[in-house]
Symmetry: C2
């Protein structure tokens, strides 16, 4: 299998999801982006050449349409922690997606997700850590 | 000077600003948080023991009230790129704050900020990079 053409599903086409989908598509990956609102696809960059599915990714029929069963990775990047958690579990349990990553707003949830084998991305925590480093006040990191 | 008690000003008490202010205050720093909306201070954690100023940080009188002239660092963490840029420049030019860091939403602005000597934090870019790493698809990073 050509690893560079593995299917990657990005759920949520806001700022984070659209940038991830655009970068991955620009690098030659086979990307499907799913958002409830068709208007969100305007966030995609011109180099995005993947598929767009307007629908609710917590519906199994939507992940089926995205051919999640042959996806290498699913990134749940909506702005709702509960929806992201639901979608990554659905992808893993029903569609056997090997790599699932959820965007997490509440940093205190990250440990729980990791115990469940779910990759996490917390823009808030990352931003704060980067600020502390940039300001030279990184002593005693909180992780 | 006791480095651990240097004054740090955080502008914008949303998710990023409130977490930064809470962590820094909890570590013993002298933190002032500024937000236009008093209701935003609810985002602060219980370990925050600094000052809260309800006001518009683009007004010099507000930064003066925050005693920006003796601040070590100012972090402009609102959700508006233009306001963040304005506030860090005001802090640097008028109040001689040595360390200024701005939250940036549009990743393409980061280079310009850096050329201006302004530290940047882009939660979106950080989140996408972390996702690419977590998913094992980090080849050919875009930086």
């Amino acid at each position: 299998m050509d690893k560079s053409r593995t299917r990657i599903i990005v759920v949520g086409c806001g700022r984070v999801g659209s940038l991830a989908a655009t970068l991955l598509s620009g690098r030659g990956h086979d990307v499907v982006v799913v958002d409830r609102h068709e208007s969100a696809f305007r966030n995609l960059g011109p180099e995005f050449s993947g598929f767009r599915i307007a629908g609710d990714a917590s519906e199994p029929s939507v992940l089926k349409a995205a051919e999640a069963d042959r996806a290498h990775t699913l990134f749940a990047a909506t702005d709702q922690d509960t929806l992201n958690l639901f979608v990554v579990q659905l992808a893993r349990e029903e569609f056997h997606v090997g790599n699932v990553v959820a965007r997490v707003f509440l940093p205190e949830w990250e440990g729980t997700y990791r115990e469940m084998g779910i990759g996490t991305v917390s823009p808030v925590r990352l931003a704060v850590e980067t600020f502390l480093g940039a300001a030279g006040i990184a002593e005693g990191r909180s992780r």
